[in-house]
Amino acid sequence: MTGSEFVPLSLPPSLIGICVAVACALPGNFLVLRRQALIGDAISHVVLPGIVVAFLISGVVAKLPMLLGAAGAAVVAVAAIELIRRLGKIEPGAAMGVVFTTMFAGGVLLLEKSDTSSVHLDVEHALFGNLESLIWLDATGWSSVFDIDALAGLPVELPRMAITLIGVALFIAIFWRPLKISTFDEGFARTMGMRTGPLGLALVIVSAIAAVAAFDAVGSIIVIAMFICPPAAARLMTNRLETQVAWSVAFAILAAISGYMIAGYGPLWIGFHGSVSAAGMIATMSGVILGIAAVKGPHRQRAT
């Protein structure tokens, strides 16, 4: 593969895939340790109807209305969970499961029945995104990386995801100690004056921002996978949180690159034409990595 082929066609989607994977894996480490791993799942399901409604009202696929719609959907979801839990006297986990799946299904129906044919917003798009289409036509080769005019033609998802990733990474870096201490021992953290409630909420909000930003480019499957698989695999590699986060980033990048490459070229290698969904393959690869770590990881023993 030459630079003139790779840079316009494969570089932007790979980079976007990497940004998405790392932006979700970073907060995922804390969500998994806090036994809140399904929050990522929940967020990515709940935002779909919010985004569809935002599109139906505003008529455009734009960042701000999508974010507002997603946020509105999250608020509705939280309220609905509380309502079901109180009125139906159902345990919180079950109430969550019911609300998320119902809202996602509602979002799928809305998508189907509304006139979204003019834009790339459909059920398949919601699940798998459209990573392969995020190409950079202004690029002619590696030299374009330094060409300001060509850079202006980059798919908008790339800078958007890069900024999201930087924001997520900054949040984790700045609040590293409070996040670590309050995840391990919330009572102790509170006696040290940490506001553990708002901090936990901030973690969920940061995760939600990463999920919503990623949703448009890569769909919900990869988001769900990246919140859980790289951190869970990383936990099996080490007994230190600092090292675990480093492993999770490495696994996220590995899944993104290998998934993208296998989706694009794998079918050719085994004699088929065409390619398979990159987002689906990236999520699959993260699962494969978790499977290997579960069998071969050095720290699979658990305290009893």
């Binding site: 009572g187 006696t191 007994n239 230190r240």
Partner: protein, 268 residues
């Protein structure tokens, strides 16, 4: 007139005692559901003493500590530490939660847990320097755990985990130490190590308050007792307050006769 004056004098004396107390609790009421777990409890801890909080299971011992520290929000009541609110006195307080309240599978090492006690010094982004590490190792040495510094915390026994928690509290260099069941499920060697450290803290002028469940060691370990069964029952020096009568009032029928006998032998 003279009665009013006496009352006023009594109130100001009470206020002075509260202002000097390492931990003064007033009217603390906490409820988890319909029934209060802690009801209108007053407690004034004597400075420089070791106080045991004693009562049956579900009597609100841990709840009282957590509410006093602001870990849970009470329905009513206030607590002060050396006369000021807990929020303003955080640096004076070290809290050791129940060992079972955390997930020991958390990916971290013994030394990292002790370093958490240095958060007040380090802040959000302060660099960890050699003297911080030396400080943490020193605290581990005081509980006899210096050889375990780089172990994953999940590999420790219950007693070792409890010692690590105590070392973290030592790293906080507080004046008031609050411990929730520090002797629960630990081996004899650990119990001895912990009580030695707590006594050395007391001898250095610090104040120690511990939720305690083993009635047979109260007289040996502690100076004061605070008896609670949702409401405060009695409080004061062990010799005056840790009596069969008060225990019967605290535990009701739940204190078995045999236990009472062994206690009267211990207190006699």
């Amino acid at each position: 007139m003279s009665i009013e004056l006496a009352t006023l004098n009594g109130q100001s004396a009470d206020r002075a005692a509260r202002d000097q107390s390492p931990l003064a609790i007033r009217g603390m009421t906490v409820s988890y559901g319909q029934k209060p777990a802690v009801f209108s409890v007053d407690m004034t801890v004597r400075p420089g003493a070791m106080t045991a909080i004693i009562g049956p299971n579900g009597a609100g011992k841990s709840t009282l500590l957590k509410a006093a520290l602001g870990i849970i929000t009470p329905l009513a009541g206030t607590s002060t530490v050396f006369g000021k609110t807990v929020a303003r006195q955080r640096d004076w307080i070290a809290y050791v939660p129940q060992r079972a309240s955390v997930d020991w599978d958390f990916p971290t090492r013994v030394i990292d847990v002790v370093m958490m006690g240095l958060y007040a010094q380090l802040g959000l982004l302060g660099r960890v320097r050699a003297h911080h590490r030396a400080q943490a190792l020193d605290c581990l040495a005081r509980v006899g755990m210096q050889d375990f510094a780089t172990r994953q915390i999940g590999q420790l026994s219950g007693g070792q985990q409890q010692r690590v928690f105590l070392a973290r509290a030592l790293a906080q260099q507080a004046d008031l130490y609050l411990l929730d069941e520090p002797f629960a499920g630990v081996d004899a060697a650990t119990e001895k190590a912990i009580i030695d450290v707590l006594k050395s803290l007391r001898d250095a002028g610090k104040t120690v308050v511990a939720v305690h469940h083993d009635l047979s060691t109260v007289a040996e370990y502690f100076d004061d007792v605070f008896l609670i069964n949702t409401q405060a029952v009695a409080a004061g020096p062990v010799a005056d307050v840790f009596t069969q009568e008060n225990l019967q009032a605290t535990y009701g029928g739940r204190l078995a006769g045999a236990q009472m006998d062994s206690l009267s032998a211990a207190t006699a």
